[in-house]
């Protein structure tokens, strides 16, 4: 039994699909306590009782469509025209665009691939250092995870059974805080330019860029306004977003031909399927762990050494940073959230606040050496060694850590908007 688990763990780090690993553990565990194996599927079928799940495939589809269309280019042009005149303008533009784009596509590396390729040459041309530019793009690749309608936020809501509208609200100020800190740093590090290097955008330019992106600008309003105006629940907001993006990109901008649509649909359902099976498999293991009271026993052990909530949060941060640098965000959430939640509740931590802490950590974990995913994606995309990227990302990492500390120890930052709405 113990040997079997070691074997499974070994296969896991050799690259076995994660859902197979989790399912193997579930089957083995239930077999050991002589419970009929169909319980594994019974647990999975409980996913059909989760209304929030509908948001995942629909937002994934909308995000994939946006990534495949001309949206990144239009968004970039618009923000460059509006913000490019500032000191460090292009860097600020990169941050904003990446944040918005990641919020809509989830942090599946799409941002680095779709936007990085446009941003990196532009940054270099504008006189930014290579190291700065690489670090900026790598760390922005997951910026925006805290903004609605980010998929990891929704997934946390599904697993933790927390209200997703509150999570969306809770992420806004912490997300803005991150963007502001990184923006300030970029302004300081930006190149001193001669005025003729890039001509100031004229009013006419602004108007034409605005008009070009006119159909995409209402998107955040549809999502947020729809949910907080009380018009739709999250699942419906996702459906409206998907339909809207479909009409805009296929029929109005015609960036995507109808014949390409089936491929994109399959592609987004493959992405969703990958997440769903991990979630499904973990339903069974979670049930087993809760049944065996593993979280409560863990809590008792931890509490023997740590009585303060703040020390616990510090340890949690360290733990999550390590997890975040090893696992991608979806599997990290699925595996860790169910175990941590009972413990965190016992320490009296608000679950919405906990969600923001989780996501901030996992976001930073994406760019944390040695194995943060963004580092590898950027290394692959820009053909630089991973070590170069380690060094390039370090200052950005430091800034993100500062926001992490603020977010962790000042719950009010996350909860103020939630409380305001009552």
């Amino acid at each position: 039994m113990g040997l079997g688990k070691v074997f499974i763990f070994l296969l896991a780090i050799l690259g076995t699909p994660l859902f197979i690993v989790i399912a193997a553990l579930a089957l083995l565990s239930f077999y050991a306590i002589e419970i009929d194996l169909s319980v594994v599927i019974i647990e999975m079928s409980r996913l059909a009782d989760t209304p929030l799940l509908l948001t995942l495939p629909l937002f994934i589809f909308a995000g994939t469509l946006l990534a495949e269309s001309g949206t990144p280019r239009r968004l970039l042009r618009l923000s460059q025209v509006l913000l490019g005149w500032m000191p460090g303008g292009l860097a600020v533009v990169s941050l904003m665009v990446c944040a918005v784009f990641t919020a809509f596509t989830g942090a599946s590396g799409v941002t680095i691939f779709a936007l990085g390729g446009l941003l990196y040459p532009a940054l270099i041309k504008d006189g930014y250092g290579e190291r700065f530019s690489l670090g900026l793009i790598t760390s922005s690749g997951s910026l925006g995870l805290l903004f609605p309608p980010s998929l990891p936020l929704i997934l946390y809501g599904v697993i933790a059974e927390t209200r997703v509208d509150q999570l969306f609200l809770a992420g806004i100020i912490p997300g803005i805080l991150m963007v502001i800190l990184l923006t300030a740093y970029s302004m300081v590090k930006g190149p001193v330019r001669s005025p003729e290097a890039s001509p100031k955008a004229t009013f006419k330019d602004m108007l034409s860029a605005l008009r070009e992106a006119a159909w995409e600008l209402p998107l955040p309003v549809i999502v947020l306004g729809g949910i907080y105006g009380g018009f739709f629940v999250a699942g419906e907001a996702a459906a409206v977003t998907a339909l809207y993006v479909l009409i805009v990109e296929v029929l109005i901008y015609r960036d995507i031909s109808i014949t390409r649509l089936p491929k994109i649909m399959v592609q987004s359902m493959v992405l969703f399927g990958g997440i769903l099976v991990v979630l499904a498999a973990s339903m069974a293991t979670t049930n087993y762990l809760i049944d065996q009271q593993v979280p409560m026993r863990l809590f008792e052990i931890i509490q023997e050494y740590i009585s303060s909530k703040y020390t616990f949060l510090l340890l949690l941060n360290i733990f999550l940073l390590i997890v975040g640098s090893m696992l991608d965000i979806f599997s990290a959430l699925v595996l860790v959230v169910p175990i941590i939640i009972p413990i965190a509740e016992a320490y009296g931590i608000n679950l919405t606040h906990l969600g923001i802490i989780f996501l901030t950590n996992l976001q930073i974990g994406y760019c944390t050496p040695p194995v943060g995913l963004n580092l590898f994606l950027a290394s692959y995309r820009f053909d630089k060694s991973v070590v170069t990227l380690y060094r390039a990302t370090l200052p950005f990492l430091a800034l993100l850590m500062i926001t992490l500390i603020i977010i962790t120890y000042f719950p009010i930052v996350s909860l103020v908007l939630v409380n305001l709405r009552g």
Binding site: L11, A12, I13, L14, G15, T16, P17, L18, F19, I20, A23, A24, L27, D36, L37, S38, V39, V40, I41, I42, M44, S45, L47, A48, D49, T50, P51, L53, L54, P57, L58, F61, G235, E236, A238, A239, V240, A242, L243, L246, L261, P262, M265, V266, S268, M269, V270, L271, F272, G273, G274, I275, L276, V277, A280, M326, L327, F330, S331, V371
Partner: protein
């Protein structure tokens, strides 16, 4: 033997076609149905009572068949920290091991799923729209069955690769 192989690959391609059409259909239907619900509620303050539960099952079907296609495309989420440290020539063997293991676990899941659906057929009632509940849950054995088969095919494929690659050392 050759015609058997040809028939087999034809069948596989047929399955892929059906899967992909099913995914497109489910996704479009989910978007439409959810939007129609909003429309009905806004303008007529009504809606279909069966729409919401049906949508939730459609999500399950879309996700599990998406996972079946993900198996074919090698797009499953995995941790994979140390496999790139291995020398290249071990890679096919590693893939054989991983895919065989996945086949075994997949068979376990398929077995559990068949048992679950059989129990539902005996004891489960009728679900929404008068569809028996085993029918709604049929996706589990179907999808896990396809996934298992695909892992097995991948294992065989890599086994062939492992034997056909040129040998660089004699200690096997």
């Amino acid at each position: 033997m050759d015609s058997l192989k040809k028939n087999f690959s034809l069948t596989l391609r047929f399955v892929s076609r059906i899967e992909e059409s099913l995914l497109c259909f489910l996704l479009s239907a989910m978007i439409l149905l959810a939007c129609v619900q909003i429309f009905l509620r806004f303008f007529f303050s009504t809606g279909f009572a069966w729409a919401e539960p049906l949508l939730r099952y459609m999500v399950l079907w879309a996700g599990l068949f998406g996972a079946a296609v993900a198996t074919k495309k090698g797009k499953h989420i995995s941790i994979d920290i140390i496999s790139h440290l291995l020398p290249d020539r071990f890679n096919p063997w590693l893939q054989v091991l991983l895919n065989l293991f996945s086949t075994v676990v997949g068979s376990g899941l398929t077995y559990a799923a068949i048992k679950f659906v059989r129990d539902e057929a005996y004891y489960g009632g009728r679900g929404l729209l008068d569809i028996p509940s085993w029918g709604l849950n049929l996706v589990f054995p179907l999808a896990f069955g396809i996934i298992t088969l695909r892992f097995f095919i991948l294992a065989c494929k890599y086994l062939g690769l492992a034997f056909s690659q040129p040998r660089t050392s004699s200690n096997g």
